[in-house]
């Protein structure tokens, strides 16, 4: 029996876009996505795909990527397939517009997970780079009654257990959990692999499974938001930088040191 691994991946607007492109529609409390800027798979979720693929590198495994949203850029969401994941399940419905409410997202993902069937391991990103919540995976784990381990930089399985090396503020921690379990991973896991040409070809042929709210056996009421946004705005930072100029760069360095001394900062 191959291991069944589910990866949770979210489509987000590119978090590294230039600041000037970032705009908020305050009235509707939404970020306006510039049409020229393609969305991306949340960075940590690419790490999650990579973590699953590394397991698959050493033993038989079936990797299913699950994503929930109102609409998707299919070519973007197929990236995990081109990296080597086996299948893609998209939970797509107009009712799924509130991706801000972690609990509702977790409900929908949990319904999909239960519909797909038994699994050994769920791998998610540590947080989505839009709302930086770091909540959805933990809520999914709670709804499914699973043990959870966060911020993994190395994920290994064996003997029905998962061993995770976690990145801690001042070192690492190794923890172990029985499976099924949920693990979230971070960028310390390392660079996700690039899709190969063969992978890209294979991904082109694969079609995602698309499920609506109804397919999941949910009604809108179960997805009522627990957290509501009452305001969304861009904070103003006042720029009053004093530029230190000298005859050349080296001179500016010297003057900077003198300036810090004068300001009693050193």
């Amino acid at each position: 029996m191959p291991l069944n691994i589910f990866v949770l991946a979210k489509q987000v607007i590119d978090p590294e876009m230039p600041r000037s492109a970032f705009q908020v529609d305050r009235e509707n409390r939404r970020v306006v996505t510039p049409p020229t800027l393609p969305p991306v798979v949340n960075g940590f979720d690419e790490n999650a795909v990579e973590a699953a693929l590394r397991i698959k590198d050493s033993e038989p495994a079936e990797i299913t990527v699950i994503s929930m949203g109102q609409s998707f850029a299919l070519d973007v969401m197929k990236k995990p397939l081109s990296m080597g994941a086996d299948s893609l399940v998209l939970l797509q419905d107009d009712a799924f517009d509130n991706t801000v409410d972690s609990f509702a997202v977790a409900r929908a993902l949990t319904a999909a997970i239960q519909k797909i069937g038994p699994f050994d391991l769920i791998i998610a990103g540590r947080q989505a780079s839009d709302w930086d919540n770091a909540q959805v995976p933990l809520a999914v784990a709670e709804l499914l009654g699973l043990p959870s381990v966060t911020i993994g930089k190395k994920v290994e399985v064996g003997d029905g257990r998962v061993t995770v090396e976690r990145q801690m503020p001042d070192g690492t921690e190794i923890v172990e959990s029985p499976m099924p379990a949920l693990v979230t991973v971070s960028n310390e896991l390392g660079q996700p692999r690039y899709p190969t040409l063969r992978g890209i070809m294979a991904a082109t042929r694969k079609q995602p499974v698309v499920w609506s709210l109804e397919d999941l056996g949910l009604d809108g009421e179960q997805l009522e938001p627990q957290v509501e946004t009452v305001d969304l705005y861009v904070p103003v930072t006042e720029a009053d930088c004093e530029f230190i100029e000298g005859e050349d760069d080296a001179d500016a360095g010297r003057l900077l040191a003198l300036k810090l001394r004068e300001a009693k900062l050193v």
Binding site: P15, R19, V24, R29, S102, F103, Q127, S129, D132, N133, A134, Q135, L138, A139, E142, P147, S148, V149, T150, T163, Q167, M168, D170, G171, T172, E173, I174, V175, E176, S177, N187, E188, E224, P225, Q226, V227, T229, V230, D231, L232, V234, P235, A239, D240, C241, E242, F243, I244, D249, A250, D251, A252, G253, L256, A257, L258, L260, A263, L265, V266
Partner: protein, 331 residues
Amino acid sequence: MADSAGVLVLAETEGGALSPTAAELVTAGLEVAAGLGLPLSVAMAGSDVEATVQEAASLGAQRVYAVEDGILSTDKPELLLEAWAQICRQTNPAVVLIARTTAGRDLAPRLAARLGVGLAQDCLEVKVDEDSGRMIAHRPVYGGNAMAAVVCNGTPQMACIRPKAYEPCEPDDSRTAEVVSLSITLDESMARVKLVERVAEESEGVRLESAKIVVAGGRGLGSPEPFKDLEVIAGLLGAGIGASRAAVDAGWVPPSWQIGLTGKTITPDLYITVAISGASQHMAGCSGSKVIVAVNKDAEANIFKEARYGVVGDWEKVMPSFTETLRELLS
């Protein structure tokens, strides 16, 4: 509810004492409690919480809940989670506050889901809206590019508060509190995740989180070697040393050096950045610095929008004379 905890601070404990974040949560909690006209309670659960009871009282809690159980240890977060859930169920708080520490960040979402309510994650400020009588939480989103004000609809309203967002409140030993001991049921089988090993990174320098001065480098340094030069500066100034995520991802410096949204939060008096562009996710971890200094060859770099002093130039030329001048000034 007459016996409600009101605003409940769930405090972490460390070796028989309250974690430093508890005093910050109490500052936030007292404001919310005053706004709601409710009492402030502090709850601790651990294997050794006796001494923390007076500590919590001295911070200004009107009521203190203490749960002592030998099987509660920091290595078993699932037990602490269940203890917190039982405390909440027994005390019916209107508001629950947790610190977004390494542990709190993971415990809070599971606790919220266990109680069937929402959670405002990573908040910088919590306030009571006079019209609705609900708590509004302000939190950075989109890597710090935007701020959101959010309201939790359920009860309790829960917020996870970023460490250092609030000043710790001053303890006063003459304060007293009503002490309530709760009995909860926990058993070992609830702890499924087991700690195998903890490896502390050896570090010689000053701790980043408490450093008065921090020096940090970014991708523009191009390789690990220039960090040696930054270490010289750090040595001269008695400063901590850090980096952007780009420098960490490149493998030039260890992850423990990372400052930012997913790294450390620093609040030094002086923060000197070299070849860091100042992405919002980086600034998220250092915008509490009193004075930011930036050396960057790009005059348009975002870092200059938040810096007090800046040099537009090549670090390879700027930093040696900066270092030499510092050495002379400090000798």
